[in-house]
């Protein structure tokens, strides 16, 4: 069981903040990845073994979905953190994923992250 969380966020300032929040929650962070290709590389590197993934939807080069699909297939719990993508679309694609609107309070995020991870473990 790993405590590695994949962070994908193209806005570095936010990414740093999130990284802090994740680490404060007791996890290690892989990333932050700012582009899809970076995210793919990170997934390859770790064989998609993450405790969870915190994903921004829109990246500078593309959307995060190709990576998210791989993670979902690998059974990684997904936590989306997005300012624009509408909930409905995400919930249709990834019924089990959690969504936190951007911006979210650090507490909210960490709580969501923990719940994600636990859900997986219980499940």
């Amino acid at each position: 069981m790993t405590d590695l969380v994949l962070l994908v966020e193209d806005e570095l300032l936010i990414a740093l903040d999130l990284q802090g929040t994740i680490e404060d929650a007791g996890f290690r962070v892989e990333g932050p990845c700012t582009t899809l290709s970076e995210a793919q590389e990170a997934i390859d590197r770790h064989g998609a073994r993450f405790a969870a993934a915190l994903l921004d939807v829109r990246l500078a080069d593309d959307t995060v979905f190709p990576a998210a699909d791989r993670l979902h297939a690998a059974g990684v719990p997904l936590l989306f953190h997005s300012g624009h993508a509408d909930d409905a679309d995400l919930r249709r694609r990834y019924p089990l994923a959690m969504v936190c609107p951007k911006p979210s309070a650090p507490d909210t995020l960490s709580a969501a992250l923990l719940r994600c991870v636990q859900m997986t473990r219980v499940g």
Binding site: E11, L12, L13, I14, A15, L16, D17, L18, G20, T21, T34, R58, A60, G83, H84, P101, K102, P103, P106
Partner: protein
Amino acid sequence: MTEATAVSDAIVPVVGIGASAGGLEALREMLTPAQLPTGLAFVVVQHLDPNHESMLAQLLDRNTVLKVLQCAGGERIAPDTVFIIPPGHGLAIRDGVLELTDFQQPRGLRRPIDDFFISLASDQQSNAACVILSGTGADGTTGLRAIKENGGICVVQQPESARYDGMPLSAVGTGLIDFVRPAGEILECISGFFRRRSSDPVEAEADMVADHVDELCRVLRAAIGHDFSGYKRSTLVRRVERRMHVLGIDTSRAYLARVRGDADECEALFRDLLINVTRFFRDAEAFETLRARVIDPLVRGRPADEELRVWVPGCSSGEEAYTIAMLFAEAARLANVAADVQIFATDIDEQMLSIAREGSYPAAALIDLPPALRERYTVPHAERFSIVAPIRDMIRFSSHSLVKDPPFSRIDLVSCRNLLIYFDDRLQQSVVPLLHYALRPGGFLFLGPSESVGRFEHLFRPLDQSARLFERTPGAPNYPIDLPGSGRTPVSRREREGRGESASLAQETLAIRRMVERYAPPSLIVDQDGGIISAHGKLSRYFEFPVTRTGGSSAVNLARPGLRTVIGPLLRQARDEKRRVVARDVTIETDYGVQPTEVICDPLGDGSLLFVFRDSGPFRPADPADLSDLEPGDDHLEALEDELRLTRHRLRSAIEELETANEELKSSNEEMMSMNEELQSTNEELSTVNDELKSKVDQLTVANSDLRNFYESTELAVVVLDADLRVRSYTDAATSIFPLKPTDRGRPLTDVASRLQGSEHLDDARAVAGGAPATQRRVMTAGGDRVLSMRVLPYRAQSGAIDGTSLVMTDITDALAMERQLTAERERLDLAIKAAGIGVWEYRPETGETVADAVQQRLFGLDPAEATHIDRLFHRIDVEDRAAVEAALRRAVERNGDYETIFRVPREDGQTRWVKGFGRVVAGSVPLRLIGVSIDVTSEYALAETRELMLREMNHRVKNLFAVISGMISLAARSQSDVATFADDIRRRIAALGRAHSLASPAGEPQAVGLDELVAATLAPYRDHAAVETEGPRVALDRACLSSLALVLHEWATNAVKYGALSGIEGGALRVTWTADQSGIVLIWNESAATSPGTPPATRGFGSVLVETSVRQLRGEMSNIVTDRSFRREMRLPAGVIARD
């Protein structure tokens, strides 16, 4: 009776006028010249349809000064008045009063003209005139015979001048017409005739004529060879008078002279004298009796090889002879025997005989024949029919006078109808024995209905009194002594030779006669009243035979003085006692002496008595002295006896005359009644023509009324002109343009004022009347306030020829104004539609047909040929929208409602066009129609899309900004403990971010932000701190980089304010320069100062983290070079930060 009536009504002669087809015109022509007083009464008889009111009276009334009345029955004839027959009735006249009669015959067989003429002839006698005008058929032809027979006058319209010449030609064909004149001259002709007659003192003239009748008969006898002295005196006088009036000759002496010198007049008089009426089966019942009692028994009882001989004296035009021939033929056919019948038909009128020989009669006469005979023995042609040859071969027509020529003999049947009535008593008495002679014993005599055998009951035994059928009594034929009227010895070689059958008997008879004439004493056979039946021997010694026969044939009257006193008593005694009586010593006084005589009177048993005279002494010459010895002893008795005889004689002749007259009248009446039939078939044709005309008149009346209503009510101004541009008619509406009054009809239009400008309408009318095609032009009223459309059309007569023009004017002022208004409106609408780029379409749901204008076609990218069906339009609509559009259309059609939808149409260039369509079902349209428009809404649609995109972008950006700020706060909070400083830093950073953001277009346009602007905005708060210089090309930045770059520049500036060139250090200056190329941007931040700047804190503060993170975010690189007096930062940014336009 005739004389009395004629005298009392002589003042008003009655003119019967018969007319039919074309009659109205002829009547007008005839009556228009009438001038009052004419002294004549007129009765017009026409063939009228019984179901229609006749307008003849009204029509005629306009054309003549005479009073015109339609008869209602009961009118008394009055001068200067025209009486007109009413429809549905015949007309008759009795005692000068007109009577309506009901027709006996069905329509088509009626002949009202003949009926009336016959009635007129019998009522008015010679006071009647008849006129036959235009018409088809032959009605009137029979009637005029009656008029002529009674001494009236006949005038016929000149056939060439009559519109229909059938009736006039038929009348002229009889040869009985007195005058043939054009219609306009008829009236003068008739007036002249009656004027001449009324100016004559009738009675005196009649006497004078009577005086000359004998002389006339002599002249005629010399010229023609026929003696009319035995004809009835009254008839002769009447007809001679008539001829005189016709010729306008006043005195009988002058007429006598004329007849003497003029062979034609002789002929005319001869013809007039012979006028009589005949027809087939005249008195059908009598003929039926003849057939049953005579013809059938004769045909059946006669051996096949023996000839049947029939004699028809006075056969006229042959109808009677043919009738009898047909009866014989029919009887033979039915009895199935071949009868050899020889019919001798004789007359003295060669003209009539030629008609008879021809055997061709007007078709009207067919009606007289029983249908069976008609079919078998006649051959119909168009207007006439002829008798078949076998019948004609039975008859031999020859010229023969009953009066003067020797009779035929051994005849089985003599049919002598309506001939004796023309003979006076004496001639009748001599003709009857003649007929007795001609007939073989047991032969039959067939007479006319008003004729009789007179005193000769012993010669003929009545077989059927009502049919006037007699049988010859047995006994040897007694050849009359002298043929009355014959001027020579009555010996006919032909007769003798025809009688070869009993030569010995003839010789014996001859011998007896010779003995009686030469060797026997003079003798005399008288009847019971003393009338001489026959005389034998030289009787002149005992009787005085006057030159004329007018003295009568009484033996008493003729006896010489002396004998006269004896013969009466002798006769009575012998008759009463039925014994022979002798008177002896009768002294007969002659002019030269006296003769003593013995007179024996011997009753013969059959009612006649034989006187035999025997001289009983020698003749004593007269002694003049004896003259004084005349013994007047017997004077009184003698005178009484004389008077008695005379009175008896007169009484007898008066009675006979009356009987004859009565019979004659009856026969005329019967004839007239039966004549109707002939008229009917002619009437049929006329009725048909009339019916047609009537119905045409009806139609015309309706059409006329329609037209009048139309003319009075229409708003259309119509003026009809004739070929000379004279006003024929006009509508009320036309009076507003041409101030026409009813009196202007017939005036040239050129003379009529008009309210039009110019006179082109006249030129047009003239041209069109001359054959030019119809024209149309606009004309203005004189005031110019109204505009009229004037059509000039040719007026076509029934024949198709142009007979004038019609001017039709329509006020189009309002229409023109409306048209202009509509045009303007339409132009405006067109312009609006064109300007708005609106496509207009129409759709018929039933057929799927569509009509699209050019814009609509362009919107759908179709060419005109394709845009005719809805399927083609649907096909052009984007597949995704197609169903929706179809549904919307269907809904609109189903609910009769509106249609509105937006859909896409792929353009040929690959783009999409958005089209909005509106439509509406046209209310009440059949078939249903939808009309609508299409608008191109592509640009609007694009704008909305962009706006939505932009909003989403803005939303994202704002949220992102919030995230950045919140991240910034979180990060700063990890390294700062002083809340005041923390808040101040944060506020400044947020302000910097705000300034940078404000550079981006507030409207969110994707507009690039220049690097220079960003630098200037970031440094703006510090410009007064030190010398700040910026330099570099204008580079547009990608907006995504804006926040990061702004934060970097802000941190650098904050650092400079705190520790560097902007901190108020002496000689502090900041120079920011940048270059840009393919690889990206290189920005150099150079701080310099006169003295060495303060040392920056060794610990990495949050500002450093922020800068590093931001540069990383920009994927740039950064380096710091610190020298003694300057601090230089360099930042390389990749090409990605440069905005791609």
